[in-house]
Amino acid sequence: MENLIALLVAAPLLGAVVLLLGGRRLDGTGHLLGTVLAAASFVVGAVLFADMLGKGAEERTLTSTLYSWIPVEGFQADVAFRLDQLSMTFVLLITGVGTLIHLYSIGYMEHDERRRRFFGYLNLFLAAMLLLVLADNYLLLYVGWEGVGLASYLLIGFWQHKPSAATAAKKAFLVNRVGDVGLSIAIMLMFTTFGTFAFGPVLSSVDGASEGTLTAIGLMLLLAACGKSAQVPLQSWLGDAMEGPTPVSALIHAATMVTAGVYLIVRSGAIFNAAPDAQLAVVIVGAVTLLFGAIVGCAKDDIKKALAGSTMSQIGYMVLAAGLGPIGYAFAIMHLVTHGFFKAGLFLGAGSVMHGMNDEVDMRRYGGLRRYMPVTFVTFGLGYLAIIGFPGLSGFWSKDKIIEAAFAYDDGVRGWIFGGVALLGAGITAFYMTRVMIMTFFGEKRWQPDAEGNPPHPHESPKSMTIPMIVLAFGSVFAGGFFAVGDRFVNWLAPVTEFEHPHPVISVPAITTATVVVLLAGAAVAWAMYGRRPVPVEAPRGSLLTRAARRDLYQDDVNHVVLVRGGEHLTRSLVYVDHTLVDGVVNGTAAGFGGLSGRLRRLQNGYARSYAVSMFGGAAILVAATLLMRAV
């Protein structure tokens, strides 16, 4: 069985290599090959899953070491895999959703002449992501970590001829790099502290290390997580990442890659458990992002950007949960999975809408689409109900648990604060998602002809696109319930993440009711604002908050002024310094000698008698010096 693990990664990797090196001759069949290999990976995952279920909770962890990667004195980095319940969860999510989205892309990218390459990149992503979750040590995880970053870079910038896409891709990579600094420093800290960075040894010998060190490691891991999972303050790239093709947004920037941060934190749970300060930081980041994303989501008219905001916010929930420690890990992952289903579904739905609307993304130019694309409408609607946490659907189970856990964060003020934030978030979520729903599928048509002037003819998307949507819709409806009933999911994960029951500051039923009330309120407000009144095609100026939210709360502007401008000035001045100062010193010396030479050679004035003088003087000096030597 162990040997199969490598196969999980190998299959999509093979696909990537073949598709990218294959050249034109694969243009016809490339996408099929890619999809098949993704599916193959999923099948392998399923087999391993079945095998795992067959075992007792304790011996479910599989490890396999392929070879010693970097053998250097006192430094052991192996290419080794670890398949336990946690990674298995991810494997299934990644390969499952991944396969569906491959399927979807076949239709979605039909008319793109570079489709083969697109599938190559998708496979590359799957390979990297699987490597990330299967790695048995942090360094190998780092490889996957940057690998998914690369894949996301390539896919965001897939339409490279669009400057905006290229810029977005670059931005994504750079912001992620900042996070990666955190990860690499964390790894170095582990190395200096434990002399290794393999999961087993590190996590099992945490007790020995000082809390300060662990806090440092924790914070560094958090920084990494912020980068990858678009958490404040490194969230700015996610919105722009929507430049990529919609399947990419669905797979990478909703379902899987962006959740890697959560995985990292949960995986490193032992470290965080021993470093409460780090945990607090995690919780705060989660809470802030949760609100940040939600607010941004409320103001965006670009459907994908709105969903992106929501993603940010939902991941905020997960991070918050992960920060709560053993009471939250399981729920974080659970929400991660359910979110994977419904957010992917939502994105695919959005993609399907755009597909029918000449790639229009502005919701103000949609309206009344439910009649024209029923399947999309239904699936999207179910996803919508799921995400707002409508009782009974996936989102309800996972999110509600997180809110409970948040209230349970050390009985007292903190519990109230973070619980409240989580609760509030739920309300805002309901608001902006309702807004999206209404603006897209209800109300009157506000369609506009596209740049070429041909009006849109909305139509349902081909089967290859709708089937994945339907499957995901099922997921978004039932997954949560399935997981929650009898704490299936929690028990499943417990051996890895350990679990203790949260004890909220107020009773669980109260919290649940509060949640439902809040979300209904949110939905109602949204209906009042967008359902009852007609939606203007041109966005109104809007309140201060709205305008701020449209500009991602000015975070980009700050970055631009501080980092970009500042950086440009810095480099420019450095270039100047290098040229004038560092170089100048040398050239100056040379010039100095030249001048000296020019002055000295004037002594050579051509007059024999002056030469004689110098000789005479020289003789005099010689004599004088000799006598002087004797004198002293």
Partner: protein
């Protein structure tokens, strides 16, 4: 003067030599063979000028000269093989001449250098042939006024100044004696014997005669001036020690003298005589090696003199002068080391730096090489100062290496010509590498050797002297030397850049194809440069064995 005084004069004299038996001087002809051969050949050369018909003179003289030099060299080798360089080293000719390692090594070097230099003297393919046949780079009729009808006639008739061969032979003879001189008188005579012919040779350029004459005048006046100082120094030393023999003076200086008569005791008490005398003598020699501040004749003379002569001077004079300097400092004045070493330090430093710095802004190849020769003099001085056997051998080696590079370089200079004769202005050398890569490459090799780039003789020599200096505790001097080498590198590189990386000028000079003579000179130069750079061990051994003075 009273009779007793007169008598005492004799009697005191008698203490040096037993009364009444002033023996007939016995001369070890064998040991002096090199010098004698050269002098003899020179005299024959005069006769040839007198009696052999003009047509035949050139070949006769060339043959005679080369054979003489070769024979002399053979004699040197013979002596060295006979152990005179090491075990049987001795003072010959009534104490006048030392036959020892350094002397023989330097004589050998001088002779070799002279041979290749004479080849360039004899080069006749470079200047366009006149009606009277091919001509070399010496004046058709030195006595004629430049541009006068008389000269035109002489040129038309294709006269050539074949006297240069005997003249140069005389110079060589003087140079052979100079480093071997074992008393001050011989030293002085040798100095004049090789200086006077050089003065003349400088005046004999075929082209640019005004410059040539000017060079001669400057060289002559300043040379005479310096030799006057030197002579005065000799006088004072003689006054101090009461003798001109090196051995004797040395004894007196370090106080190991056995018999002290009252007069000697009197003068010995007066250090001023010794110090001033020594200083002036030193100055005379420093003038010849072209050390700052006695260097100022060098650029002008090097530029004005006929290029073959310049090469000859630059190489041979330096060898001879440094030989004499070594002998003086190591044999005569070691007892005075504490006094002269600091002074020489100063001289070495200013010479290295001065030569290198002034060279940066030179625009004439020959002047450039002149200044570079000054800088090199400084490097060699660093070795001289070491005051240890390695010092001697390293200097000997350096001289060997340097002389061939120099002659080669100047030989290359003779090849680059335009209407006005040699095109020595640097601007004309632009793009030479494009027009005739071979010549440029060869010259580049020489320049790199001057710059002391590894795998050339220049590096080995520089390393040797610096090493000796460092071992002699002159580390600071080494650092200065290194710095000035860096400065020097700059202008050698400049020439290379000019030759290879700048576009050739349309009206640029042509590169004359020389006869086998000059080719040999250049070829030997390159060969020696590379051999001494890559596999110098044999020659280092030679210099090492030769590095012991007889006293």
């Amino acid at each position: 003067m009273s009779a007793t005084a007169v008598h005492s004069l004799w009697t005191t004299a008698a203490e040096v030599e037993p009364i009444g038996s002033i023996p007939a001087p016995h001369i070890e002809y064998a040991q002096l063979a090199p010098v004698l051969i050269v002098v003899g050949a020179a005299l024959v050369g005069i006769l040839v000028e007198a009696f052999v018909p003009r047509r035949a003179r050139y070949h006769t003289q060339l043959f005679l000269t080369v054979v003489a030099l070769a024979a002399a060299f053979a004699a040197v080798v013979g002596l060295a093989a006979g152990g005179y360089a090491t075990t049987k080293a001795q003072i010959a000719a009534m104490g006048a001449i030392a036959v020892d390692g350094p002397a023989l090594f330097l004589q050998g070097t001088i002779l070799l250098a002279s041979v290749v230099a004479v080849f360039t003297f004899a080069e006749r393919r470079l200047d366009p042939a006149g009606d009277g046949g091919r001509v070399d780079s010496f004046a058709a009729m030195a006595a004629a006024v430049p541009g006068s009808d008389q000269e035109k006639a002489a040129v038309k008739a294709g006269f050539t100044t074949t006297e240069v061969f005997p003249i140069s032979l005389f110079a060589v003879a003087g140079m052979l004696v100079f480093p071997a001189a074992n008393d001050l008188l011989t030293l002085f005579i040798a100095l004049e014997v090789f200086s006077l012919p050089l003065y003349l040779l400088c005046a004999l350029a075929r082209r640019k005669r005004l410059l040539s004459q000017e060079a001669a005048v400057k060289y002559f006046l300043l040379g005479a001036f310096s030799s006057a100082f030197m002579l005065f120094g000799i006088a004072l030393l003689y006054g101090y020690a009461g003798s001109v023999s090196y051995a004797r003076i040395a004894e007196v200086v370090d106080g190991s003298v056995r018999t002290i008569d009252p007069a000697l005791a009197d003068t010995m008490g007066n250090d001023a005589l010794l110090l001033v005398g020594g200083a002036l003598l030193l100055m005379g020699l420093l003038f010849k090696v072209g050390a700052v501040p006695f260097h100022m004749w060098t650029p002008d003379v090097y530029q004005g003199a006929p290029t073959p002569v310049t090469g000859f001077m630059a190489a041979a004079t330096k060898i001879a002068a440094f030989g004499a300097l070594l002998r003086l400092l190591y044999v005569v004045l070691p007892g005075l080391a504490w006094d002269w070493r600091p002074v020489m330090w100063g001289v070495a430093v200013v010479t290295m730096l001065g030569g290198a710095i002034v060279a940066i802004t030179q625009t004439d190849v020959k002047r450039l090489l002149a200044y570079s020769s000054i800088a090199h003099a400084g490097f060699i001085l660093a070795g001289v100062i070491a005051m240890r056997p390695e010092g001697i051998s390293s200097v000997l080696f350096y001289l060997l290496a340097y002389s061939f590079v120099t002659i080669g370089a100047f030989a290359v200079v003779t090849l680059v010509r335009d209407a006005g004769g040699e095109a020595t202005h640097l601007s004309k050398w632009a793009g030479l590498g494009r027009r005739s890569p071979l010549v440029a490459a060869v010259f580049a090799v020489f320049l790199l050797a001057f710059a002391g780039i590894p795998l050339t003789s220049g590096f080995t020599g520089k390393f040797a002297v610096f090493k000796a200096a460092a071992e002699g505790g002159a580390g600071a001097l080494v650092v200065v030397g290194v710095i000035s080498s860096a400065i020097a590198a700059f202008f050698y590189i400049r020439v290379i850049v000019l030759m290879f990386f700048s576009e050739p000028k349309p009206e640029g000079p042509t590169v004359a194809v020389p006869s086998p003579l000059t080719m040999t000179t250049i070829g030997v130069g390159v060969a020696v440069t590379l051999v001494l750079g890559v596999a110098p061990q044999y020659f280092l051994d030679l210099a090492g064995q030769a590095g012991v003075f007889v006293r």
